[in-house]
């Protein structure tokens, strides 16, 4: 099913009807939800899939020989196929389910970092990472003697490719772990170039696609990367489930991370052996209901189509940037060539928290703070920004509401 024929013309009204929460009011005002980058709202398809599973078809998976367990296993495991298809992975066994992007990166830092990288090697991140793609590598550095390098970004909020390459030149970098799209600046990084440069210097590449996969078609074969992670709740799916995709041979070389049920082949007290990938990395009862919900989310997104979503967001971003540019005392952070539906800004004389609260008072939900990216804030000599972020249900009228709200904030703080 393809809802639209003209990719530029997403029928937003129709989409909005799929999201029951959007009819809510907040503090007596119509909800204008511009915090989708933090977590997206859920379409009825996702809500129903989870509820129906609990109502009609649920049991623990993988080990049951009975009907309920077999059917639930099929439903849960079919999400793996849906993810593999979504990302154009070669093999469903390359899809590891985790709780969220944060766990995916920690898994990698533990298993690849401690199990494959050797002390003296380095991990290279960028200057616009989310804490989730900084702290696990710091913990690795401190525990395992892996150097942590940071590729700087330009004032425009783009990766400095010359500096990036020079940090790879000594051949010590074993892994590049870098965002595919900044959750603060909206900048989309040049993924293919990053991969080809990194590979030329012998480094593997992991992308943090937490934001990117919400806005762009991700094709891991075309990107040529080695690992790619994302988090279900930002792609209109439930909380509690995320994805680490990895090339099969790499996953096979990695030791397990968490131990327990489902990830073993055999257990004796002396020694245990591990299940094949991906199960080796999935210890314990998985997020079954969340897997079922995630499949519905993927189906929903694919039915709309990435081309349509991307065009819709591009037009929202263009509209927002041009309206904000016309405003006195508002400064947008970064102006990358390639960007998705996330805009950070600061307001003269008004702290970001006050901006967010005053907007909230008008029913407009934006985020304010360091957005789990303190080092990036420091890079711009800031402590915090306000951030508006868009989803498939965001309208141009909501962007206008934001601008109107900001006019009032400016006036309020003179």
């Amino acid at each position: 099913m393809n809802i639209m024929t003209n990719p530029a013309a997403l029928d937003v009204d129709r989409i909005r009807r799929d999201f029951p929460i959007l009819t809510q009011t907040v503090r007596g005002k119509k909800l204008v939800f511009l915090d989708t980058a933090a977590s997206a709202q859920k379409p009825r398809a996702v809500i129903d899939a989870m509820a129906v599973a609990m109502q009609t078809q649920y049991a623990n998976v993988h080990r049951g020989l009975h009907w309920m367990s077999e059917r639930t296993t099929e439903a849960y495991e079919s999400t793996r196929d849906a993810v593999a298809e979504l990302m154009n992975a070669n093999d469903r066994s390359e899809v590891v389910f985790v709780r969220n992007s944060t766990e995916a990166i920690n898994l990698l830092a533990h298993s690849y970092g401690r199990g494959v990288l050797k002390p003296g090697q380095a991990v290279l991140i960028s200057g616009m990472e989310h804490h989730s793609n900084i702290v696990p590598w710091q913990l690795l550095r401190d525990a395992h003697g892996i150097e942590l390098r940071v590729a700087p970004i330009t004032d425009a909020g783009e990766l400095d490719m010359t500096a990036f390459e020079s940090l790879l030149e000594d051949g010590k970098v074993g892994l590049v772990a870098i965002t595919h799209m900044s959750n603060v600046l909206g900048s989309v990084t040049p993924a293919e170039r990053i991969v080809s440069i990194a590979h030329a210097y012998g480094a593997k590449v992991m992308f943090d696609g937490s934001q990117a996969i919400v806005h762009r078609k991700v094709d891991v074969c075309a990107l040529g990367c080695d690992f790619y992670c994302w988090t279900g709740h930002k792609l209109y799916g439930p909380t509690g489930i995320g994805v680490l995709w990895g090339k099969r041979d790499l996953l096979e070389r990695m030791p397990p991370f968490l131990g327990g049920g489902d990830m073993i082949s055999s257990v004796t007290y002396e020694q245990s052996t591990w299940a094949a990938v991906p199960h080796k990395f999935e210890a314990g009862t998985p997020a079954i209901l969340e897997g079922i919900g995630l499949k519905a989310a993927i189906g929903y997104v694919r039915a709309i189509g990435y081309d349509v979503m991307e065009a819709h967001e591009a037009s929202l971003v263009e509209h927002a940037l041009s309206r904000l540019a016309g405003m006195d005392g508002i400064r947008v952070l970064g102006n990358a060539q390639q960007r998705g539906g996330v805009i950070s800004f600061i307001v003269d004389k008004a702290h970001a928290h006050d901006v967010a609260t005053l907007l909230d008072r008008q029913g407009i939900a934006v985020r304010a703070g360091h957005h789990c990216a303190e080092p990036l804030m420091h890079r711009f000599n800031l402590d915090s920004t306000a951030r508006a972020s868009f989803g498939i249900y965001t309208t141009h009228a909501e962007v206008d509401a934001l601008v109107d709200g900001l006019v009032r904030v400016r006036e309020f703080f003179q």
Binding site: R63, G64, L65, S69, T73, S265, S266, A276, H279
Partner: protein, 158 residues
Amino acid sequence: MTQADNFADLRDLYQEVILDHGRRPRHARRLESFDRNARGDNPMCGDRIQIWVKMSGEKIGNVGFEARGCAISVASADLLAETVQGRNKDDTKALFEAFCTLARTGTCPSCKSELIESMKVLAPLSGVHEFPSRVKCATLAWHALIAALDGSKEVSSE
């Protein structure tokens, strides 16, 4: 339930021939002399099979096995032993593929004609396709056999 109970509802999976081979397997023995052997494990349920193969030239001469597992896995190993004798490696792999299709789907529409007779012998196992978690029980011995022919020592069916 009474003695008159004809178990019709249970027979879709456990046909008489399976019960019979499961209970009294004909080939359940370690071969004294053999050319190939391998072990198969199904870690999810703990089933385990060891298989020994005596070749006669390029062809399988004789197969023996020791199984720890359910009626399906024992019967399947036994029927395997009955159907692979006299086949070379390629023939055996073709039969293996056909059997896997049968176990997963209940039929094997595109079976090669030279397999038809053997597939008739294996047909009683087709009922497993309705019980996805039992498909591995039916195919474990086959995976072990192929591993033995390929010179691997162990295989894990997951």
